[in-house]
């Protein structure tokens, strides 16, 4: 049996069958044993009765994306599995475990010619009082991966403590039955043992990391309207605020949410909201207000497939246009995009730092993939970025809230400061904040708001730049992980660099030009039907003429193998 650096498992079932629970246990058990890994979920929009799959990939090293094909696929049932289409692929070397009473094998399995083994999963579960099929599946996966039964048993006790002793016993019995059922099965490969490491590791979702980034950055107020796939950010922030201080308000809609955080920030409290595309659409008018009135706020958009309601539970990178171009008027603002589960922390914290420093709103474009993926990561060091707003000093006289300064940033008076009284306004205003329709004031304030963003030094965080060569893969956001894996796979054969801007606005033409110095071929990779990122690059940056674009809409992820293939085919 061959040793492998990584192994991937897909657990498929109807909504409510427990596939996601099994995936979570599997991931936590393996990561507790020292491996790295991640689990993404792919579900229909229904809470019950739809389709659900837990996609788990385990590795000896930190890992950020899913593979092209799954090594092991277990179907609790196949009732709705065809709805996944090509999202979950298996190959001829994959092992598929199927319940003979679980419904017809999905087309993707029969087409692939994978090895199919039948195990009566439901019958095994029924033989156990209160037994559940997903625990049988956990046992089988554990057997094939070589996970320790004792450790899994302890994990079940810990995670099911609230459900009582009977539930724990039933799950343990299920685990045992699953282990026995798969004892004679052969996956054909085994994970190499984990590297010993003393580093502290976390098992976290991108949405949780976004929340932590907000709090580390100094955010102490959030207002938001529930929306998939952003709600976990709010559900993590609300109880966390009660511990460290701060408040989350559930707003009546996204129009209220954005205005609430503008109000809180006006009062001096760093503030954030989290939403998805439909909510961002509703927030755009007030984001223009935050731009004009120079109020720091962060809006996290956990992107899902659009337009309109789209596919609420599945990922896409198609809100770039609205984030960059959605505002009416000339409205310079910040747009950032995290590149992995772990990077949600850094990028959100940096966004808080930037919005507070520059008094301009920041949009953070996360997406369903990194937002809801749970991954084992090395503990993120606490970076020094906290909100540092330039505030008006005590005893101000003839205070000008929107004074034109060299940096473009004007000291902000916070209510309570005597002599600092001003009216924040979305109307064009003069340096004092008094509404005006004069050409001169309008231009001066537009200049000022442009200047403050353009003059700021953003440092090396603006992009991920890796590798050397005449070939560049340019991507952004959650596809950075897949692009990185592809670049690493071809590195021995082709000189390739990876360029992934984390800061999308303001644009960084000089840094971009330096990053591409000597590059002759560019492959742009993005998850958007309209190639929004490619058009954004074309609009703002000089690129060599030899550019190809690998783009498609969600929810079918772009895998590292496709990027690898696109590079290699081009080279031939």
């Amino acid at each position: 049996m061959s040793k492998s650096e990584n192994i991937s498992i897909a657990i498929v079932g109807s909504g409510g069958a427990g596939a996601l629970t099994t995936g979570n246990f599997l991931l936590e058990a393996a990561c507790s044993a020292g491996w790295y890994g991640l689990m993404t979920r792919t579900v229909g929009p229904q809470i019950r009765g739809g389709e659900a799959a837990a996609l788990v990939r385990l590795a000896t090293h930190p890992i950020e994306c899913m593979p092209e094909r799954y090594d092991l696929m277990i179907g609790i049932d196949w009732l709705n599995a065809n709805r996944f289409g090509a999202e979950i692929d298996v190959g001829p070397h994959s092992l598929v475990i199927s319940d003979p009473h679980g419904g017809e094998l999905p087309a993707i399995v029969s087409r692939a010619g994978a090895r199919v083994v039948e195990v009566p999963i439901k019958e095994l579960a029924k033989a156990i009082p209160e037994g559940r099929a997903n625990m049988i599946v956990l046992g089988m996966a554990a057997a094939l991966l070589g996970l320790d039964e004792e450790a899994l048993s302890a994990l079940l006790a810990k995670r099911l403590a609230e459900k009582g002793e009977a539930a724990i016993e039933a799950s343990r019995a299920g685990l045992k039955a699953g282990l026995a059922a798969a004892a004679d099965l052969d996956l054909g490969k085994r994970l190499s043992p984990p590297h010993a490491s003393a580093a502290k590791r976390w098992l976290v979702s991108g949405n949780e990391m976004t929340g932590l980034g907000a709090i580390r950055g100094g955010v102490r107020f959030a207002a938001a309207y529930p929306i998939t796939p952003a709600s976990e950010i709010l559900e993590w922030l609300a109880p966390s605020f009660t511990k460290v201080g701060g408040v989350l308000l559930q707003a009546e809609d996204e129009l209220a949410a954005i205005n609430m955080i503008i109000g809180a920030s006006f009062g001096g409290t760093p503030a954030l909201t989290a939403t998805s595309g439909p909510g961002l659409s509703l927030m755009i008018e007030a984001l223009g207000l935050a731009t004009a009135a120079e109020i720091p706020v962060v809006v996290v958009d956990v992107m899902r497939a659009g337009p309109s309601t789209g596919i609420p539970t599945k990922s896409e990178q198609a809100d770039l246009n609205i984030a960059v171009y959605g505002f009416h008027g000339d409205a310079p603002h910040l747009v950032l995009a995290p590149q992995s589960v772990a990077d949600c922390l850094f990028t959100t914290q940096w966004a808080v730092h930037l919005t507070e420093t520059l008094q301009a709103p920041a949009i953070v474009l996360s997406d369903q993939f990194i937002g809801q993926t749970v991954a084992a990561i090395d503990r993120a060091a606490d970076i020094a970025f906290v909100g540092q707003r330039t505030k008006a000093a005590e005893n101000v006289s003839a205070y000008k809230r929107y004074a034109v300064t060299g940096s473009g940033v004007s000291p902000m008076a916070i209510p309570g400061l005597r002599g600092g009284q001003y009216t924040a306004d979305g109307l064009t205003h003069n340096e004092r904040g008094t509404p005006t329709s004069s050409e001169g004031d309008h231009r001066a304030q537009l200049d000022k708001r442009r200047t403050k963003l353009d003059q700021f030094t953003y440092g090396d965080h603006w992009a991920t730049l890796e590798g050397e060569g005449e070939f560049a893969v340019i991507t952004w956001g959650s596809l950075t992980g897949a692009a990185r894996e592809a670049v690493e796979r071809v590195r021995d054969r082709v000189g390739v660099r990876l360029v992934a801007p984390r800061l999308l606005l303001p644009i960084q033409p000089e840094r971009f030009a330096a990053a591409l110095d000597g590059v002759k071929h560019i492959l742009v990779v993005e998850q958007s039907h309209g190639a929004q990122f490619h058009r954004y690059l074309r609009a703002h940056y000089d690129m060599p003429s030899d550019v190809r674009v690998l783009h498609r809409p969600g929810p079918l992820p772009i895998r590292p193998g496709e990027i690898e293939q696109a590079i290699m085919e081009w080279r031939v």
Partner: protein, 278 residues
């Protein structure tokens, strides 16, 4: 030794900014501004600890005409902006100024939820039953037969009843005032600002430009014949059956204001990370 900070007596003029108020000559909003500054002086509010928040429309020009902190935001969202401000800064006095278009039409949903949320702030709606700034279109409180270019022959729609909606949604203080009686309006505002929770004051404020008929209001208004009740059902019945020109405090509720704690439990941010550890 404890010291007591004494405040000099304040005059209404102390609350006026140096920006000249501009509305149409004869507009009721001039008097509402006067009532604001009189009420603030009566309460001795510190201008730097008072915030006047507004949306868009004639009424919403008020913040810049005061010497307080102000926010002139987008159309219809003043209550939401004020909620975020007051929850995070309970030390501030927050007064929200709006009109019948801003507050009842585009901002209608926020009105319901502000009443329900019952945050300690005062909401003053200058109702002139018309969109003034966009030149005379019908608003949610316009009579059904009011003939305009946008609604030839009238809308045919029943006007919205803001005071009853406020009561039904949970507002803790409901009053009706008339701009032409600035002292009475100031007194009502004083009571509204003092009253805990969400206080709603509808001010009948004539638009003499697009609704010259509203000049008649001064002969129609009259003091409410009975004192305010703390029974919302009784208040609703009175308001539903009065003639719409009953001026005074109509309801004083006893609901506890919503003010979540901004202070945490002194738990360090690093503690939050413990849940993440493998």
């Amino acid at each position: 030794m404890a010291t007591v900070e004494t405040q000099p007596a304040r005059k209404p003029a102390d609350y006026k900014s140096d920006i000249n108020a501009i509305w149409c000559p004869g507009c009721g909003d001039y008097h509402v501004l006067m009532s604001f500054t009189r009420a603030f002086a009566e309460l001795g509010l510190a201008p730097e600890k008072t915030v006047v928040v507004s949306g868009i429309g004639c009424s919403s020009r008020i913040p810049a005409y005061t010497n307080c902190y102000g926010f002139h935001g987008v159309h219809g969202r003043s209550l939401a902006l004020a909620a975020g401000l007051k929850v995070t800064r309970p030390d501030l006095t927050v007064v929200v100024a709006s009109g019948d278009g801003d507050g009842y039409s585009i901002g209608g949903n926020h009105f319901l939820h502000a009443c329900r949320r019952n945050i300690n702030m005062t909401y003053v709606v200058m109702d002139n039953r018309v969109y003034g700034m966009t030149k005379g279109q019908p608003s949610p409180t316009t009579e059904p037969d009011f003939d305009t270019a946008l609604s030839p022959g009238g809308t045919g729609l029943s006007p919205f009843h803001p005071l009853v909606i406020a009561l039904a949604s949970g507002a803790n203080f409901v009053a009706r005032a008339f701009s032409g009686a600035p002292n009475e309006t100031a007194n009502i505002l004083v009571e509204a600002i003092r009253h805990p929770g969400f206080s709603f004051v509808e001010v009948l404020s004539p638009c003499v430009t697009f609704r010259p008929d509203e000049r008649e209001w001064k002969s129609l208004v009259h003091a409410a014949p009975v004192a305010a009740t703390n029974d919302p059902a009784k208040a609703a019945r009175r308001i539903m059956t009065d003639d719409g020109f009953n001026i005074g405090i109509l309801y004083r509720g006893e609901r506890r204001p919503y003010q979540p704690r901004m202070e945490g439990q002194n738990i360090d941010v690093a503690e939050l990370e413990k849940d993440f550890e493998l």
